[in-house]
Amino acid sequence: MIRSVLNICTREWKRILTRPDHYIVLILMPPLLFIFYALIYQNQKAYDLPVVIWDEDHSALSRQLTFMLEQTESIHITGQVNGMEELKTLMQKGKISGAVHFPARMERDIKSRHPVTIPVFTNASALVPGKLIYSDASTVLITAASGVILQKFQKLGMTEAKAMALVMPIQLDTYRLYNPAYNYQQYLVPGLITVALQMMIIMVSVLAINTEWNEGSMQELHGLSNGSAGNIILGKTLAHLGISWINFILVVGILFPYFNLSRSGHHLELFILFNFLSLACTGIGFMISVLAQDTMLAADVGLFYTSPAFVFSGFTFPRWAMPWYDQYYAQLMPYTSFLDGFFQVYFMGLPLSYAGIYMLKMSLFIGFTYFIAVFFLQQRFKKQLAYAAS
């Protein structure tokens, strides 16, 4: 049996290295695609987004605030506007991403104890720039407001410490763990890479069995396997698993260090978790390949099944915010379980035991799909033999 499995594994490697629909997807595409993803987010954050000032105050304070806004990472003051219409038009033309309005008499009102409201406008149809501008603008303006309150209390004869305690009675200390700077490259690229890997594995393994029937090579494979569907599936699995290890080394050993995406330690844990994903995806691919004789149909099913994995997994939009039926559908893809474990092992650096439940879920995929693949392939062999005998 071992010799049979090893022969099939070696034969499958040769197939992978010689068939364009295998080696392009599994060998050539991964480095190209993964480098492309990493380069998109090379700047890590969005800097110097165009913002205009609508200054009706024309005071020293409004100039001071404008200067402070310009010092932030995301805001770059590109000009002045004189009204709401002009502001909106510039946004519609795509010239600006945000605006800050200093109302008339702002400085005077603050000094004469009249509350002042400073509106911040963003083009929220583009979510990333909008949120960054608001975050930086509100930090500057709240800091300025705190300064105003502080001065007032100090003028009343309060010590600086006590005045500060009144300005900020409850100080919120925030610890943003695992990605404190909200670095887009560190956040998105590992997710995009892993989702592409699951897609690659499935898109090729859906061709593993049906192409053998369609191209007339199944008889040879049948002979190599001693008539055992289990040997065929096991041999091919080892070959595909081997290729996925190469891609794992490419990602974790080369790309992550090169683009500073590596996290401390936990490579072994990540490797174990990745193997569960690989096996689950290969199992799904083999199951489709056994059930769908037509290669194009199998590829279409693979495409339809894998392409929504990223959005359903909850990577960018949390699953709890989706309707209940989409939350259930998300569980029908092994990538969802992998991602939950990946967050814990890769991003959070937790021991593998935290991902135990997710590995168990992926094991269910593995058990079910491999059973179906082996069972139906063996049934087909039996039918063929019965047909040949008759």
Binding site: D21, T89, I110, T122, L177, A196, T316, P318
Partner: protein, 399 residues
């Protein structure tokens, strides 16, 4: 002359019919072109039908257990965004975040109320799992607002104790406040932001995967000559005759998406519908020669479909929709400029989400037209080359 025109019309009609028959016979194309666009549009759209996330779970470690800490927690409970799962000890809160049950925890220090009342600095620690951006940034924004509000309440009480009238003390509490106006997406919702772009991407990718797969199938089965012969040997007519089928089909999908899907998902087009329709048709016209060109690079329908399947995310990510164009490295900006999606998304989002007109984004219109012309020429040139190469091969085989 009249005879020529009649002949011309006949070949267009013949090409349209030929394409319809080819698609009807190929179940892969049927799936990609007739079922996938509608299924994907509803399927993907449904994910974001709630538009925004709410009730992000956190735990609270309340080491103070006083009136002030209870008020603070109650204010947090009153927000839509924060879901306080439980009041738990520190270790449990940490473990719940590790397990993914919560997205963070808030640690209220012992003696908070006492310190606040005696004007000593007091702290509340917010620990967030920032590995996921959206929940952590929404939590941070909302908890910061609540903390500032509770702080203002403390100042109000202090001012009143100092003998200020309630009117004056109210004015003194927050002399400067920030009023946030997220334009064109008032709730800053993720769904409102993403769905329009997602529908455009579904329209584009199903068209490109189907059309390029179909053209690759023509090469694979040696039907390129037959295709061009149906157009009386005119490559340009061959391209646009084939493309007419896709133009009509995806024009209908475009209309359907912008009306039915938008309505189902609770969206409305803020700009002019006719301008939007014109831009969608121009976009489809640009994608047709591009799709035919891509498909004609392959000799296998399967390989073409495989490769095109991996283009979806890269194309979406470099068009400036989710990540500002100016932040891309220069070579990727060039790639982005070569994609019709980039100027189209710019025009489309301006019309759909911002109520702008084509006039406001003329450079993008020019860009899209230039890409249409470019891909048309490239496609005609490439198909002529394939035809010539094929005829040379046949001559050589014949000799």
């Amino acid at each position: 002359m009249q005879h020529l025109e009649h002949h011309h019309t006949n070949s267009w009609w013949a090409l349209l019919l030929r394409e319809a028959q080819l698609v009807a016979k190929d179940h892969s194309l049927l799936l990609t072109l007739l079922i996938a666009p509608l299924l994907y549009a509803f399927f993907y759209g449904s994910i974001y039908s709630n538009k925004a996330e709410e009730q992000v779970p956190i735990d609270i470690v309340d080491n103070d257990q006083t009136g002030l800490s209870h008020t603070y927690i109650q204010e947090l409970r009153n927000t839509q965004m924060v879901q306080i799962r439980a009041l738990v000890p520190f270790e449990t809160a940490q473990e719940n975040m590790y397990k993914g049950i919560t997205q963070g925890y808030l640690l209220i220090e012992k003696g908070l109320e006492k310190k606040v009342m005696s004007l000593q600095g007091s702290k509340v620690v917010l620990v967030l799992n920032a590995a996921r951006f959206l929940p952590s940034s929404d939590l941070l924004q909302n908890i910061t607002t609540v903390t500032l509000t509770v702080g203002a309440g403390v100042r109000l009480q202090y001012n009143q104790k100092q003998g200020m009238s309630s009117d004056i003390s109210m004015r003194e509490v927050a002399p400067v406040s920030v009023d946030y106006h997220p334009l064109f997406n008032p709730g800053s919702n993720y769904g409102t932001f993403l769905i329009p772009g997602l529908l455009a991407l579904i329209l584009q990718q199903t068209l490109l995967i189907g059309l390029s797969g179909g053209v690759a199938a023509e090469r694979q089965h040696g039907r390129i000559k037959d295709w061009i012969n149906t157009a009386n040997g005119n490559v340009s007519t061959a391209i646009w005759g084939k493309g007419l089928f896709y133009f009509i089909l995806f024009g209908i999908y475009g209309y359907f998406f912008m009306n039915v899907n938008y309505r189902v998902l609770g969206f409305s087009v803020l700009g002019n519908g006719l301008e939007l329709g014109a831009m969608i048709l121009l976009f489809i016209l640009t994608l047709i020669p591009m799709g035919i060109f891509i498909g004609s690079l392959f000799r296998s329908q399967l390989l073409c479909t495989q490769v095109m399947a991996f283009s979806t995310y890269p194309v979406f990510l470099v068009t400036g929709y989710t990540w500002p164009l100016q932040e891309l490295p220069a070579p990727l900006q060039v790639i982005s400029a070569l994609l019709p999606t980039t100027p189209f998304i710019n025009l489309y989002t301006a019309i759909v989400q911002q109520g702008a007109g084509i006039n406001d984004r003329l450079p993008s219109l020019v860009h899209l037209c230039a890409l249409w012309v470019m891909y048309s020429f490239v496609c005609i040139w490439w198909l002529r080359r394939i035809r010539e190469r094929d005829s040379h091969v046949k001559l050589a085989v014949g000799a």
